[in-house]
């Protein structure tokens, strides 16, 4: 769209006057009084505005956790909806402080874009959704099909790889936004729609007849989704990374939004370090002593955030799966706070 050209022009101008990236993001955020968070344009469960403009979702709660850690107020966040096309250029140009938009961590994005992936908040994979009337049981039966995908995503690339690897023919129609992609799929333009499985569940909710569609069992790629920050600011990188690890550690140690006040009086050394009664781990990050208490009280631990937004407490009903704690058979593992 012409918007791409407009943003490209803006990048040209901003790139000419931007400072070399400095370790100033935390100071800038504190001075501004609000965190600028880049999110999606409406993905239920991850980042979705309701009709009054209040944002909810897993990615939204992550940004609120950062804001809670810095300001002790989870509402001090300004959300910027971004499409898959302009999400990285917005972050590169400092229009946002952190990108929390279900973005897949890949080597080329980590290196050639000048960005750092701070953590994996959701281990996902790519899948395909088809109509039940097609009577398909497996993605391997899709030879010759038309597939709808979103442009500029790993979904486009993984789709090409999968069909190439299995010697199948296909033709892809790529749209600029997820909404247009789903609309085209619903209108019958394509036989299948492909994106991350969590997004498939989420988009299925928006379809007119959700029960007419089925998600095929094949997971055709690894999609570790997480928040992204700019190169060159190690302190900010550490803060964003450790906000996620704090939430995972809190769940592991049994500290939830309901029990966090009681845990301040705990005798267990791990919990005492987590909530800041012992040690100066918050100050080492540039935050306050009670940074984890702020996060868990205002937003919750990882498990609470998951269940509330995409799990059993939500309309998506996705099971924890790989996103369980390592102690419960999943791969969410946080280094210790000590």
């Amino acid at each position: 769209m012409k918007r791409g050209t407009a943003i490209g022009g803006a990048i040209l101008l901003i790139g000419l006057w931007a400072d070399a990236a400095s370790a100033q993001t935390l100071k800038t955020v504190k001075d501004r009084g609000a965190l600028l968070c880049g999110v999606s344009q409406g993905l239920p469960g991850f980042s979705n505005p309701d009709d009054k403009g209040n944002w909810t979702g897993l990615d939204v709660d992550f940004c609120r956790a950062i804001a809670a850690a810095i300001f002790n107020d989870p509402s001090k966040v300004k959300f910027t909806p971004l499409s898959a096309k302009d999400r990285f250029t917005s972050l590169q140009s400092s229009a946002i402080d952190v990108l929390s938009r279900n973005s897949t961590w890949t080597s080329s994005r980590d290196t050639s874009l000048g960005l750092n992936f701070a953590a994996v908040t959701y281990y996902d994979g790519q899948g395909l959704m088809v109509r039940k009337t097609a009577k398909l049981n497996s993605a391997l039966e899709l030879n010759g099909a038309s597939i709808c995908a979103q442009t500029g995503t790993t979904s486009e690339l993984n789709l090409a790889d999968y069909f190439r690897a299995n010697n199948m023919k296909y033709d892809v129609t790529a749209f600029a936004t997820a909404d247009e992609t789903v609309k085209a799929y619903e209108a019958g333009r394509c036989d299948a729609f492909t994106t991350d499985v969590s997004q498939l569940y989420s988009e299925k909710l928006k379809l007119a007849n959700a029960n007419d569609h089925v998600i095929l069992p094949e997971i055709i790629s690894k999609e570790p989704l997480g928040p992204v920050v700019r190169h060159g600011d190690d302190q900010w990188f550490d803060i964003v990374k450790w906000v996620h690890f704090a939430m995972v550690n809190a769940e592991e140690l049994g500290v939830s939004s309901k029990t966090v006040d009681a845990s301040l009086k705990s005798n267990q050394p791990e919990i005492r370090r987590l909530v800041g009664v012992e040690g100066a781990y918050g100050e080492q990050l540039g935050l306050t002593k009670d940074w984890v208490v702020r996060i868990v009280k205002h937003v919750g631990n990882y498990g609470e955030v998951f269940e509330r937004n995409v799990g059993s407490g939500s309309k998506l009903g996705i099971s924890r799966g790989l996103n369980r704690l390592w102690t419960k058979g999943g791969i969410q593992y946080a280094p210790p706070i000590r």
């Binding site: 769209m1 012409k2 791409g4 050209t5 943003i7 490209g8 022009g9 990048i11 040209l12 790139g15 000419l16 006057w17 931007a18 400072d19 070399a20 990236a21 898959a84 096309k85 990285f88 250029t89 590169q92 080329s108 994005r109 290196t111 050639s112 874009l113 000048g114 899709l142 030879n143 010759g144 099909a145 038309s146 709808c148 442009t151 500029g152 995503t153 486009e156 690339l157 789709l159 090409a160 790889d161 069909f163 190439r164 296909y170 033709d171 892809v172 129609t173 790529a174 749209f175 600029a176 247009e180 609309k183 085209a184 209108a187 019958g188 333009r189 036989d191 700019r230 190169h231 060159g232």
Partner: protein, 389 residues
């Protein structure tokens, strides 16, 4: 007469003017160089990849309409070519059809038939007042939602199929001797041009008209057709067959292309219609009245008297509309048509992150296309200009 007073070289106004202009030009170039250096330094500081080496990297994604061979393992450079050809295709066909439709509607609006004139007027007022993006989306969604799926496609003679995956036609596969047919067509076209040239010269000299239609048709159509049958009809047809999900074989026009073309053509034709009407109204009424007094019919008045004079007024704004159409084709990304902006400044930009280089290349390409179009139109304009003393 005394000689002009000698002036020191540094007071010579001409020399001074040239020096100032050179200094400003040098300053502008230096400024531009500084900009580029600054951008490069900032990109390096942020460890964002820069340079044009990405054009040799593997693309890894598919494109659903390619006029040249394209495979997922091809480079971003090839993606650029595919996008460019798609843009040129939709722009070229758009310009052609928009001109034809625009002229028809513009002349229709001046028709003495009340209904025809009002219908044309209504068309122009409706179409040119709606944003183009909405019109593109309308045609795309209207086209998509009314057409059936591939398994229930509408078919014509069992050869041409229409579904929401697009129009599928049998693809002509030229045989061995098709080269002779192609040569015959080229010769026939040249012959028709030569004939027209000769006929015009003869009419200028002797005043005798020459009916060009049938001899030209014989040359352009008849000659190749004759060679075709003599060579044993060397043309096979690759029939499309429904196999699994889609049609296999044949030539396919995707619905995105059709919707974009229809939207661009109808939109630009509304503007061209008004330009044509303005051009025709600019020709003095005396010309029409004199021609009518000579007994010429309305169609002939238009063709021989009014339009040649009107074209002088029409060509410059018409160039504008052609450039607008070419640039408006970049809205293709809204409906998933793989033009230059969609695959190169969209997908490639997002995959490589090299926004500055890619946007610069895309802008340079559009600039080149637009400059070429306006050069051509300016040459034509100069050719039909009134030659004054």
């Amino acid at each position: 007469m005394p000689a002009a007073p000698r002036v020191a070289w540094y007071n010579n106004p001409k020399l001074r003017g040239t020096a100032y202009q050179l200094a400003i030009l040098a300053a502008l170039l230096w400024f531009g160089y500084l900009f580029a250096l600054n951008a490069k330094a900032n990109l390096e500081a942020q460890k964002i990849a820069s340079g044009f080496g990405f054009l040799d990297h593997t693309a890894g994604f598919g494109i659903n309409q390619t006029l040249i061979d394209y495979h997922e393992a091809d480079t971003y450079g090839r993606v650029f070519l595919v996008g460019l050809l798609n843009t040129l295709l939709v722009s070229g066909l758009g310009i052609l059809f928009a001109t034809i439709l625009g002229f028809v509607i513009g002349i229709a609006r001046l028709s003495p038939n009340w209904l025809v004139a009002r219908l044309a007027g209504g068309y122009v007022e409706l179409i040119r007042n709606l944003p183009l993006l909405f019109q593109i989306l309308f045609w795309y969604l209207a086209v998509l939602s009314t057409l059936p799926g591939p398994r229930q496609s509408l078919s014509l003679f069992g050869q041409i199929f229409l579904s929401n995956r697009g129009v599928v036609l049998p693809r002509p596969v030229p045989g061995e001797n098709f080269l002779y047919v192609a040569c015959a067509f080229a010769l026939g076209a040249l012959g028709a041009f030569a004939l027209a040239f000769w006929a015009r010269r003869r009419q200028a000299c002797t005043g005798q008209p020459f009916a060009l239609l049938w001899p030209s048709a014989a040359l352009i159509v008849g000659l190749p057709l004759a060679i075709f049958f003599l060579a044993g009809a060397p043309l096979a047809l690759d029939q499309p067959r429904l196999q699994g999900f889609n049609f296999v074989g044949g030539l396919r026009l995707i619905p995105e292309f059709a919707a974009l073309l229809i939207a661009l053509v109808t939109y630009t034709a509304a503007f061209i219609a008004e330009i044509v009407r303005a051009g025709i109204l600019a020709v003095p009424r005396g010309q029409t009245e004199a021609a009518a007094a000579l007994g010429l019919r309305r169609g002939r008045i238009l063709r021989f008297i009014v339009l040649p004079q009107a074209l002088r007024v029409i060509i410059p704004p018409l160039t504008n509309q052609y450039l607008n159409l070419t640039k408006n084709s970049s809205l293709a990304v809204a409906i998933g048509y793989p033009d230059l902006v969609a695959v190169f400044a969209g997908t490639t930009l997002n995959q490589t992150g090299q926004a500055i280089e890619i946007i610069a290349i895309t802008m340079a390409v559009y600039l080149a296309i637009s400059l070429a179009t306006s050069l051509l139109m300016n040459w034509y304009n100069a050719r039909i200009r009134l030659v004054e003393r």
